[in-house]
């Protein structure tokens, strides 16, 4: 195979070292699929897996600084690599993007992040939606909830019912990033897209201090009353385990949760349900992974980078990869009929461009985003008046 691939290639293949953080079983299988396809396309994938997104990115940056850069490195489709671009440390993949017509097949929020000054600096590979509502059918049945909640009020009502029968209404892992997910769920489902954009994108002080936003924060705080005392510090998968065992009713988490259900041999639609947004127009929060290409002048390496970019967005790769990863394809033009119902739901929503919305990291600098996270987790865990939270967020978003 390899020799066949080589025969096709005009210049000899260069080893491509890729830094990524896909190390768990399902992620690893997904990464392997890309590697396999890359190999088939004539590349040589050299794997450098580093668990933990922060760590992996830090290594990539240090490797670049130490003049020993990898061929490609995983980042999130956010502002994380903006500084690198500004420092001129990344190669662009304009050729590929133009040839493949990314402009047409990629969602707008993603394009806004990867296209800087008209150049394409990253290849996005998937879309994760963080704010899914997962629920245990068994728990709902026990609490006598017949209908999937279709608004935030119904959701609260359902949770009250769960609480009444001694089930933990909200399976929550008490870690700051998970609290931010709950917040984003509230902001999109209670506040809506416009409020979201004026608070997160425009950092509009008026919006932050508005009544509407206050309502979001109060809803967020109300969610906190539905958790169990053991929640602080808990990993998200342990929260999912509560759902699986029927001890808890609902979890708000990204679509990677499906991996846990699959491991426990539970089936979407039968054992658990997934709600992408409570109302028909609630936005679909886009988050995902992307690869960037550290600057190099070695033509063979550049060749390898371009090849990788091509392979990553190849439709077949997209489908197979996202099935394994639990996310949905980044491009809208692929056939999703083989995917699970939650993914199909997601894809269906993605057809509606008005529901596209980037997660906060697409708009905020990592620093601002972190500050928001600090404020939210403090608010979640302690008794801070909501007005003070509004003020804190406002001041963190200034300048």
């Amino acid at each position: 195979q390899n020799s066949a691939a080589r025969a096709v290639k005009p210049i000899p293949a260069e080893k491509a070292e890729i830094i990524h953080w896909w190390t768990s079983n399902s992620e690893s299988a997904a990464a392997k699929l890309i590697a396999e396809n890359y190999r088939k396309a004539g590349g040589i994938w050299v794997d450098t897996a580093i668990a933990g997104a922060d760590q992996a990115r830090a290594v990539a940056i240090n490797r670049i600084v130490g003049s020993n850069p990898p061929t490609a490195a995983q980042f999130n489709t956010t502002k994380q690599f903006l500084d690198l671009v500004e420092q001129g440390m990344l190669n662009n993949v304009d050729d590929v993007a133009k040839a493949e017509g990314w402009e047409k097949i990629l969602p707008e929020p993603v394009l806004n992040v990867i296209r800087i000054n008209g150049h394409y600096y990253a290849v996005p590979v998937n879309i994760h939606m963080q704010t899914w509502f997962w629920y245990s059918k068994a728990a709902f049945k026990k609490a006598g909830i017949a209908k999937e909640p279709a608004s935030m009020d119904e959701m609260f009502a359902a949770m009250d019912k769960l609480k009444a029968v001694g089930i933990i209404p909200l399976a929550h892992g008490g870690q700051a990033w998970q609290e931010t997910i709950v917040f984003q769920a509230m902001l999109t489902n209670v506040g809506g897209k416009d409020l979201y954009l004026s608070v997160i994108r425009d950092r509009d002080q008026k919006a932050i201090n508005s009544e509407a936003f206050k309502k979001v924060l109060l809803a967020f705080k109300r969610m906190q009353s539905y958790i169990d005392p053991g929640s602080p510090g808990r990993n998200w998968n342990d929260a999912t385990a509560l759902l699986i065992s029927g001890k808890a009713g609902v979890q708000i988490m990204g679509d990677w949760v499906k991996g846990e259900f699959a491991a426990a041999k539970q089936v979407a639609g039968k054992d658990f349900g997934c709600i992408a947004g409570l109302t028909p127009n609630s936005p679909y929060l886009i988050q995902g992974d992307a690869f960037v290409f550290p600057r190099t002048n070695n033509p063979a390496t550049v060749q390898a980078q371009k090849l990788l970019a091509k392979v990553l967005l190849n439709p077949a790769t997209q489908i197979d990869f996202n099935k394994l990863k639990g996310s949905i394809p980044i491009r809208s033009d692929v056939d999703t009929s083989t995917m699970d119902i939650c993914a199909q739901t997601g894809m269906a929503i993605m057809k509606d461009k008005s529901r596209h919305l980037g997660i906060s990291e697409m708009f905020l600098t990592p620093d601002q985003n972190g500050a928001l996270q600090d404020i939210l987790t403090a608010y979640w865990n302690t008794r801070i008046p909501v007005e003070k939270v509004q003020k804190s967020i406002a001041s963190a978003f200034k300048d």
Binding site: T23, S28, A35, A49, A51, V65, G66, S67, W177, E260
Partner: protein, 304 residues
């Protein structure tokens, strides 16, 4: 001593036998009680780790961390060692073992030797200005390692050592220097200065005295230093990751890839097995180091 008290005492000591005085006084019972309860406290987490590592994930999801497994399985251990995924490869944590050894051996020996050398120079020769250097070094020990990574990467890259085995050894040497120096310096301050003087009369130069007199007297502290350094290097993750280069990534990178994930599924049983497996090398050192904790290394040296 009056005869009455003598009689009382007689009854008190007469019954004593060697065994009684040596092992079962209340004080000794107290010691054992303390040590055993301490051991329990220390072992409890290990117990949970072990139990967890032989349960299936289903059972772990049930949530009783203290319970013995209903269905004992060593699958997680096998997985951890040879088939857990650590990237696109799923070959367990064993992959980094040789790399870890290749890093750990020089990174244990060199810093210990340097630390001993520094301590020796500081305590016995006291070169001018050395104490100020040592002071700066000790202040430096309070800087979080991570803050120094960035400049170090640049420095190492400029001398072409970045992403190489010598590079990572050098980095470990740099980061361990304050503690190693401190360890030996303070240890040597308890050795009678006269020994050193005698050796100088005997014509011993700097190196000779160090190698032939001071090092042999350092066994206990070398053992402690080895325990610290080997453990530190063996468990190091961030430095190995950043400085070792792709071909020398230590085992902990694999371990971390097994354990650590944000959005991937977690296999606690495999994680525990992998952790215990990874720590076997330092644990072995701990166990065999006992006979080097000898008593009275300087005994009989001087009078007074």
């Amino acid at each position: 001593m009056s005869t009455t008290t003598a009689v009382q005492h007689k009854s008190k000591y007469a019954k004593r036998t060697k065994r009684i005085t040596r092992s079962w006084t209340p004080a000794r019972l107290g010691i054992y009680a303390f040590l055993l309860s301490a051991a329990m406290f220390f072992l409890l987490p290990l117990y949970i780790m072990l139990v967890t590592s032989v349960k299936s994930m289903d059972e772990i999801r049930m949530g009783n961390i203290f319970a013995l497994p209903t269905q004992f399985t060593i699958e997680p251990w096998i997985t951890a060692w040879s088939s857990a995924c650590t990237g696109i490869d799923c070959e367990g944590i064993r992959g980094g073992f040789m790399n870890s050894l290749a890093i750990a051996i020089p990174s244990t020996i060199i810093p210990i030797l340097l630390g001993a050398l520094n301590g020796y120079a500081l305590s016995f020769w006291r070169p001018r200005g050395a104490n100020v250097l040592f002071g700066i070094l000790m202040v430096g020990a309070f800087i979080p390692v991570q803050v120094m990574i960035f400049p170090l990467v640049r420095i190492l890259a400029s001398v072409d050592l970045y992403s190489s085995l010598p590079g990572i050894v050098l980095v470990h040497t740099v980061f361990s220097m304050p503690v190693m120096t401190l360890l030996f310096r303070n240890y040597y301050s308890t050795i009678p200065h006269e020994l050193f003087q005698a050796a100088r009369i005997d014509g011993g130069g700097f190196v000779r005295i160090f190698v032939q007199l001071v090092l042999p007297m350092s066994t206990p502290i070398i053992v402690v230093a080895a325990i610290m350094q080997l453990t530190g290097v063996w468990n190091d993750y961030i430095l190995g990751l950043v400085f070792a280069g792709r071909d020398h990534l230590p085992m902990t990178v694999q371990l971390n890839n097994v354990i650590n994930t944000t959005t991937g599924t977690r296999q606690y049983n495999v994680n525990m097995a992998a952790t215990i497996l990874t720590s076997l090398v330092p644990l072995t050192l701990y166990f065999v180091s006992g006979r080097w904790f000898v008593r009275g290394i300087a005994a009989g040296a001087v009078k007074g």
